[in-house]
């Protein structure tokens, strides 16, 4: 009886919370996009500039997400399963990138890779373009989405313990086999949510990437930069339309990942 009531109570709290913070704003986004029909949204989405921008965003995301996923899993394994000094420091360090506001990220990357920066002349001499080109945009994106996979995997790894892994090792499995057959399936949901968060962040990143991109029309404009441009042109429907596409891509990734599951289910 009591359990039933508290269950409804919790559900009510959750739904209320999500309605205010999540559903309301999303509804506004959809409403504003299609307020004047499909045409403004469609127009904004099908210009070559927008399509190129979406492509660029997808390319950057396709690079940043795997990099951060691999880093996140290796890092989580190191933190939870290995012993070393400074573990607490490392743990705290991983979250720090989020605490930098976009303009500070841009500033630090200018300080490093700008023409008067730490690596400026070195890069200049070799004709390598970091700033105002793809490399700096990828670096900035990796930076702002760095902690998510690690943060997801660490608590789950702690929770499940390593008995199965130890058993496998005693039975003679190699480190790689143990990882692939035992560890990875048991952290699959953590990895999935970590990848989702990372992907969403990469798709929606604006500030830091905008600063290092140089905003070169048709060359270094990402989807979020197009959103900004549409907003400045008073084309709110267009701005929101592009944003919806980004949100839908994130959702697609979630759907795709929850559908692909390794054969072994957790016992």
């Amino acid at each position: 009886m009591k359990g039933w009531l508290s269950r409804l109570g919790l559900r009510a709290i959750m739904l209320g919370y999500l309605a205010v913070i999540l559903v309301g704003p999303l509804a506004i986004v959809f409403w504003r996009t299609f307020e004047d029909g499909f045409a403004p949204a469609w127009d904004a989405l099908t210009t070559p500039e927008t399509l190129n921008a979406l492509k660029l965003t997808l390319i950057i995301t396709a690079i940043a997400v795997p990099v951060n996923t691999i880093f996140g899993i290796v890092c989580a394994l190191a933190i939870v399963r290995r012993r070393f000094r400074g573990k607490g420091l490392l743990n705290a360090f991983i979250d720090l990138p989020l605490a930098l506001s976009p303009v500070v990220v841009g500033l630090s990357l200018f300080l490093l890779y700008g023409q008067d920066g730490w690596f400026g002349s070195w890069l200049d001499e070799r004709g390598i373009d970091v700033l105002f080109a793809l490399p700096s945009m990828v670096i900035a994106t990796i930076f702002v989405s760095l902690p998510f996979v690690a943060r997801e995997v660490v608590p789950t790894l702690r929770e499940i313990g390593d008995e199965q892994e130890q058993a496998a090792q005693t039975l003679g499995a190699s480190g790689w086999q143990t990882f692939w057959r035992i560890t990875l399936p048991s952290i699959r949901w953590a990895v999935i949510y970590g990848v989702i968060l990372t992907t969403a962040r990469c798709l929606g990143e604006y500030g830091a990437v905008a600063v290092v991109s140089g905003r070169l029309q048709g060359q270094t404009e990402t989807a979020t930069l197009r959103v900004q441009e549409r907003y400045e042109a008073f084309d709110l429907a267009g701005a929101y339309a592009i944003s919806i596409v980004l949100a839908l891509i994130a959702m697609l990734v979630l759907v795709a990942m929850t559908v692909i599951r390794p054969k072994e289910e957790a016992a």
Binding site: L58, L216, D235, L252, V255, V259
Partner: protein, 340 residues
């Protein structure tokens, strides 16, 4: 299993279609093969104007084999990007101090102000955007000091353009005969009425449109542009106000500046100036300005920053907008809480 498979196939299919669509989108970069490539780095508001002007230029003989790369962003941000290595042939910025920063970075000739039209490419004025029917009867700068009048303006420290608003207010009182002390006192009263300090001019327009405030200190070209995009704005040009002058200059370090200079000359032709006028900017060329008199009414008390006798932007920057000891910094502290 089949249901999962179907979902997966659909998801992958949509993703592939999306990628294919973007791949066939083609490049937005000009597809004419051109001998000369010019890069224009500009502040954000003239984007549409240049979008029209560049194809016009490319059709002229001077622009025949020229193609452009364009970048638009907040003026200060563009300056920082240029200093960090963003390539540019032409810089079109929002105010003279931003151009002077490029001078100190050895990228623009120090004599840029002595070029034709003082180095400016278009002008605007500071206006009061008011609510429908102007219920609070806001007409002059003195009206802004009345208690109960809610003012929206960007923060002069986060938005270089907002400095025009401050100097328009202060300068107007000086022009009307007030002493420096009196003008500052009025400015402080005005500042106490500021309810929101957005980070940029566009953001403050957005705030005003969301229903906040009685008056928005804005630029005439912004007001016109918003109206062009369907926003029903009403604004008043006060009798005394400042002339906003937007500078343009070429990169002095590039080898061949012929095309860049040709573009600058083109921008001051009547045809090009009319395009600026169409987008709400006051032309620098007198004949075009006169032809558009109806749209850009003259004002008896119109003044430029140099006409205030304060030593131009350089001295004004230090005196008013120094983050530590400037007048506006003091005002922010006076208006804000004591503990903060």
């Amino acid at each position: 299993m089949p249901r999962r498979l179907i979902t997966l196939v659909v998801a992958l299919g949509v993703l592939t279609a999306a990628l294919a669509a973007t791949a066939t989108g083609g490049t937005a970069a000009p597809d004419r093969t051109a001998d000369t490539k010019l890069s224009l780095v500009a502040y954000s508001t003239p984007r549409e104007a240049y979008g029209k002007l560049i194809p016009m230029f490319e059709k002229t003989s001077a622009g025949d084999d020229v193609s452009f790369s364009q970048s638009y962003g907040a003026s200060g941000e563009q300056v920082r990007a240029i200093k960090a290595g963003l390539e540019f042939d032409i810089a079109a910025l929002s105010l003279a101090p931003d151009m002077d920063e490029l001078v100190s970075a050895n990228l623009v000739d120090a004599k840029w102000k002595q070029q034709s039209y003082k180095g400016m490419v278009h002008n605007s004025v500071v206006v009061f955007v008011v609510r429908d029917g102007n219920p609070k009867r806001i007409k002059s700068w003195n009206d802004l000091t009345r208690p109960g009048v809610e003012i929206i303006t960007p923060n002069p420290f986060t938005s270089g353009g907002a400095r025009w608003n401050i100097m328009a207010a202060y300068g107007s009182w000086r022009k009307q005969g007030k002493t420096d002390k009196q003008a500052q006192a009025n400015l402080l009263k005005l500042w106490r009425n500021v309810e929101v300090q957005d980070t940029s001019a566009r953001a403050s327009l957005n705030t005003f449109n969301s229903g906040k405030g009685d008056v928005l200190l804005a630029y005439e070209n912004e007001a016109y542009f918003s109206r062009m995009q369907g926003l029903d704005l009403q604004w008043i040009i006060p009798k005394t106000t400042i002339l906003i002058e937007n500078p343009i200059a070429v990169n002095k370090t590039t080898g061949d500046k012929t095309a860049a200079n040709a573009f600058l000359r083109f921008l001051r032709t009547p045809g090009a100036q009319q395009v600026f006028a169409d987008y709400g900017y006051r032309p620098v060329v007198k004949s075009v300005e006169n032809a558009n008199r109806k749209k850009f009414p003259a004002r008896p008390g119109l003044f430029t920053i140099d006409q205030l006798g304060l030593g131009g932007w350089q001295k004004v920057q230090k005196r008013f907008f120094d983050p530590k000891a400037g007048v506006m910094a003091r005002f922010q502290r006076a208006v804000g809480g004591s503990t903060g």
